[in-house]
Structure formats: structure tokens, C-alpha cells
């Protein structure tokens, strides 16, 4: 596996969507390639950071409106 191939299959690697043979080739390449090891580390850090983006906060008014909808719905139970 060459470096320019590895960067194109990295998502399949991280999403566990690879045959065992391809996975072995991928990991074998990493053993001797610092560039691709850095690339994989960067991709993992990118994914970790995206998972930590805080959600938009909910305004008090919006929340209260939703709770009111819930009370209205509850009456129909």
C-alpha cells in the first residue's frame, strides 16, 4: 500500500469497513511510515474534536414552549 492509497481508504479503516487482508496491509504500512502515522493521528484527533463541539444551547423560552406542547399532548393521553 502506498501513502496516496492509504489516505483514500483511511475512512474504511476507521469505520471498520475493510477486509482483514486490507486491514493488515494498512497496519503494515504504518509500521514503517511516519508520515501516514502522523496522518492517522491527525484524523483521529479531528474526529475526537468534532465529537466535542458543544450543541447550541436551548433558550429558556424555547424550552418552556416545548414543555407547554408536552402538557397539551399529555391531556390527549
Amino acid at each position: 500500500m502506498d501513502c496516496n492509497e492509504l489516505v483514500e481508504v483511511i475512512t474504511d479503516y476507521l469505520e471498520d469497513n475493510m477486509s482483514p487482508e486490507d486491514r493488515a496491509r494498512f497496519e503494515e504500512h504504518l509500521i514503517y511510515c511516519d508520515g501516514c502515522t502522523a496522518y492517522l493521528d491527525q484524523m483521529r484527533a479531528t474526529l475526537a474534536a468534532m465529537g466535542l463541539i458543544p450543541p447550541q444551547s436551548v433558550s429558556v423560552q424555547a424550552r418552556e414552549r416545548l414543555l407547554q406542547s408536552f402538557r397539551d399532548w399529555k391531556k390527549t393521553l
Partner: protein
Amino acid sequence: MALSEPDAEAGLLQRLREGNEEAFGALVDLYHGAMIRFARGFVRDQAVAEEVAQDAWLGVLNGLADFAGRSSLKSWIFAIVANKAKTRAGKEARSIPFSAMAAREVSGTEFAVDPGRFLGPDAEWPGHWAHPPQSWGDRPEERLLGQEMMQKLTRILEGLPPAQRMVITLRDVEGHDAKSVCNILGVTETNMRVLLHRARSRVRGQLERSLADASERPGLH
């Protein structure tokens, strides 16, 4: 999120069906902001996205009795948001169906990394790095988690082509599994994987450039 655990989810569903307001409030706190963010992918306008999310909650309440648990509660809720948002965008006659957007964005070639960063066919090691990425350090996540980089990351996501943005938001920001992303968006697994790969590659590349710029200008923010 803890709610993806089936037992916790079953308990929550039970309380919702019984009309427990605290349970509903907790669910709103967990997902409402994310639902608005997701709806923005379809309707763009913040106020309209908020209405879509509000409307989706009514859909959730009205569908609770029939929810059979074939998908997780979370992915069911997001599928309702997608439906409401599509309907709304369609009424405003400014929307391209997601499937058409996806088809357009998976067509053609898009390299994960600029081909110029690899050695050419005449080199001793063709296809290997000519300009390899530089390490982001032992704890790269720490460099990304500052407020400035998080804001940059948010802007990078907003700048992605729309179908890529929606897929990566659901998969990597909201943490849905791959199958749920396909169900929510109504996209094939093949196309979803291409969109996710292209989106992730773009985001990493832009972060790499941002961090390189930042280290060339120490002290500047």
C-alpha cells in the same frame, strides 16, 4: 451518549409515554440544540430551523405510541427532523432533494490530499509522501480543543458542501452510527461512506493548514 444504552432508553420511553415532564425536559436538553443544527442543513435560516425542530417534537410526541424501537430513539427523532425539514424546505421551493445533492457530491474525483504532496511516478518511491504531514504533538486533541480552534472547526464544517456537511455532522458531531445516518438521510451506504470520507479529509486538511498558520505566527490569534 448514555441514552444509546438500550435499557436507559427503554426506561425513558416508558416515562415519556406516561407523560413524565421531567423525562421530556431531559430529552429536550439533550437533543433540541442538535436538532436545530441538523435542520439548518436543510433550511439554512436559523429561525426556520428552530420552527422545524419545534414541529419535530410534536411529531415525536404524536408518534411515541407507535414507536416500535426498530431504531434507537435518537435516530428516530432525527429522522423526524429530517422529514419535517424536507417538507418545510420543499414548501419554500428552494431545496434540492438530499439524494440529488448526494449524487452530485459523490460524482467526480476528489483527492483526500493534494496529489502534489506525493512523489510522482518517476520517483524511487512513487505514491509516497513528498511533503508528509507534521505531527500535531503528543496530545493533538489539546491543540484542537481551545475555543479558537473549536470555532474554526465549526466554520470549517459550515463551509463543506451540504451533503458532506450533513453526513459528517450526524456521524461525527452527533455520534450516530453509520446505519442510522443512512436511515435518517435516506442515502445508500456507499454514497454515505464517500461523503463521509470526503468531508473528513477536507476537515483534517483545513485544520492542518490552520495549525500550520498558527505555528508560523506565534503569539498572533
